[in-house]
Symmetry: C2
Subunit: 208 residues, 2 copies
DNA sequence: GGGTCTCTCAGCCATTTGGCTGATTCCAGG
DNA sequence: CCTGGAATCAGCCAAATGGCTGAGAGACCC
């Protein structure tokens, strides 16, 4: 059997080297390349033909990980992609899985977990860290809390500290509409003030 | 000349391996050990006698990096410590430097920067990533923004999303007093709504 | 003793926010 | 074609918030 070809995508050199050091020692796994950004990953994949792409979600400037996943899958729907990131925010997990990630590992995962995830990914298996799985489960169990795209957009701006008037101008809608969206958001988040909504959003979603 | 003995402290195995891979190739630098927590670092230092401790600030459960730095310095005031972390929040930087860190690097630092920082640390030089230095400079340049203890306490609770009434009850003061404190906080933060204050606080201070 | 800082509280008033009800348009799914 | 979700807007009213001025008590420094 030929080795599993892996492409590493992370904006931190240190992390790439660490993964290379860990995965490189494993028989049957070969790191064929590294990319420091989503753009770079998209450029390298056609050339390197990796079986698995291991990538971080947060990648400094430029394209974020979610978008990179989406585009990789658009290019090749069978491309196996493993998310390897630091935080386990609800929104990120759902979006990554939605975009087509096969697995979701946290950076404090044990080496064995990482090897298993890489091997599993090529077979189409879905591997995720226990804390991630539990969060994803909660999300599925509680679909009522999912915000609509417009609501999410508004919530994101809300965490910048804007007033209703400013939100309206920014989104080209009336203040009345802003209030309606906010009321829906409060309901879904289980809060009743904008301050609590901001606090919840930043803590739950890693919005910063 | 003998090699510079380095101890790596980070809760992520991947990061430790990456640092080891990077530093290990450098002549004159020797990685003598790794620790996954502040407690572990404190236990290893007396035994390994590293010239430089390279450590992350955020370390999952248990002792945080700041506290680890403080205790290492208490044990040996001449211990050189380099902070190597992901985020550059104002408060973290100030607290780390205050606790006795010699340098402050971000995880996207270039290899050369890291080598230079390790070498500089043993000579007592202070090395920090440019974005970090600029933030630190701003802090020093603008001491007028320092909150009083009570104000800081209030701001911290504010980021939990409490109302004025709740803040008053929690701090055993009247709502009027809460409003006075808030007005002062807004002035110092340069904002004029509680939403903006929360956003600023969480983003500037890493309050989560 | 006088000045300064911090923390405490009060009252007044304009603005903002939140809760409610109801309505229209558009679009996707059955 | 009907239903339902999503997004848009309106009006009303109570509550919360923010800006202002003023003020007393205690601590600390010179």
């Amino acid at each position: 059997m030929t080795a599993i070809r892996v492409l590493l995508v992370d904006d931190h050199l240190v992390v790439r080297r660490g993964l290379r050091a860990l995965l490189g020692t494993q028989p049957g796994i070969e790191v064929v390349g590294e990319a420091a950004s989503g753009e770079e990953a998209l450029a390298l994949v056609p050339e390197l033909q990796p079986a698995v792409v291991v990538m971080d979600l947060a990648m400094g400037a430029g394209m974020d990980g979610i978008e990179a996943i989406r585009q990789l899958r658009a290019f090749n729907p069978r491309q196996a992609i493993l998310v390897f990131t630091t935080y386990d925010s609800d929104a990120d997990i759902v979006r990554a899985v939605d975009a087509g990630a096969m697995g979701y590992l946290l950076k404090d995962a044990a080496p064995g977990e990482i090897f298993a995830a890489v091997r599993g990914a090529v077979e189409g298996k879905s591997v995720m860290s226990p804390p991630v799985a539990s969060r994803l489960f909660q999300q599925l169990r509680n679909p009522g809390e999912i915000l609509t795209p417009r609501e999410a957009e508004l919530l994101s701006l809300l965490t910048e500290g804007l007033s209703n008037r400013e939100l309206g101008k920014r989104l080209f809608i009336s203040e009345a509409t802003v209030k309606t969206h906010l009321a829906h958001i409060y309901g879904k988040l289980g809060v009743d003030t904008r301050a609590a909504a901001i606090a919840t959003a930043i803590r739950r979603e890693g919005m910063r």
